[in-house]
């Protein structure tokens, strides 16, 4: 599988580590009223879809960047790759 890195071009997936669901980018506010429930959801609950999924990949054997990859988990087709730092909070 090739991941088309936004800065470096297509790179082999063996250079990357899969770091899980991209919902980890949106950490809940600990001051919010139902923060306990939100953190349970944030830490443990995943939708795990068979289809389009947004996920985090870390380029450990490369430039050490975090990527937000939109991938179809059924076909492994990669639909979009963005730098996580550019998408945080959007």
């Amino acid at each position: 599988m090739l991941i088309d890195h936004p800065l470096l071009g297509p790179r082999d997936a063996s250079e990357f580590i899969y770091m899980g669901d991209a919902k980890l980018l949106n950490r809940p506010n600990w001051k919010s009223q139902n923060s306990k429930t939100k953190f349970l959801d944030y830490g443990y609950l995943r939708k795990n879809p068979a289809g389009v999924h947004k996920e985090l990949w870390y380029h450990e054997q490369g430039d050490r960047s975090w990527l937000l990859v939109t991938r179809n988990t059924v076909t492994h087709e990669i639909l979009k790759v963005e730098l996580a730092r550019d998408t945080k909070g959007k």
Binding site: L7, L8, R11, E15, Q61, G62, D63, R64
Partner: protein, 186 residues
């Protein structure tokens, strides 16, 4: 007390061999340092790099070689490596100058260099390197960090058929073996 005569021992002890017309030799250097760009100071670092090394700070996966033979390459948005083969004033002048803008870590003992050179070098690399090695994608002077035989490697293209591979010195023996085996198998 006996007078000690200390000598630097390189990770591959000056290894050099030719296998299938590919010359494999340890690339020896005096210093290798990493430069980290502090948050929001890229402009200051660019000016400092130019002042300290006499060449503009390279873009990501690009390199420079200055008139003293010092090699600088950028392997991440905020990370560069500078390798000094033998310039004598590097530690006394260049490093203190770079320190005015960058976070610096001495990594001289952490890395080992291997220079590979020969007509069949691409054939050899294709067996272990997942990168596209065509010159359109990986031009002379480009540098990339990747994985070869499960080991972290920084590859620098010196000419069309000459490369320097930097791997962690702790696993340099294993990496050299994989280069030798790949060269024997072409």
């Amino acid at each position: 007390m006996a007078k000690l005569d200390l000598k630097i021992k390189k990770p591959l002890d000056g290894y050099s061999k030719v296998i299938n017309q590919i010359k494999i030799a340890e690339y020896q250097f005096d210093n290798l340092i990493s430069l980290a760009i502090p948050l929001k100071t890229e402009r200051k670092c660019k000016l400092n790099f130019k002042k300290s090394l006499g060449e503009p700070m390279p873009n990501i996966e690009k390199s420079i070689i200055n008139k003293s033979g010092i090699l600088g390459f950028r392997i991440g948005l905020d990370l560069l490596l500078v390798c000094n083969p033998s310039h004598s004033s590097f530690v006394k002048k260049t490093v203190p100058s770079l320190k005015q803008a960058f976070y610096i870590t001495d990594q001289t003992g952490g890395w080992c260099g291997v220079r590979i050179d020969g007509d069949r070098v691409i054939e050899m690399l294709e067996r272990i390197c997942p990168l596209n090695l065509s010159q359109k994608i990986f031009a002379i002077g480009d540098v990339k960090r990747t994985i070869m035989d499960h080991l972290n490697v920084i590859i620098f293209r010196e000419t069309e058929k000459k490369f320097i591979l930097f791997s962690p010195s702790s696993s340099s023996g294993s990496f050299l073996k994989s280069i030798e085996i790949s060269s024997s198998n072409i």
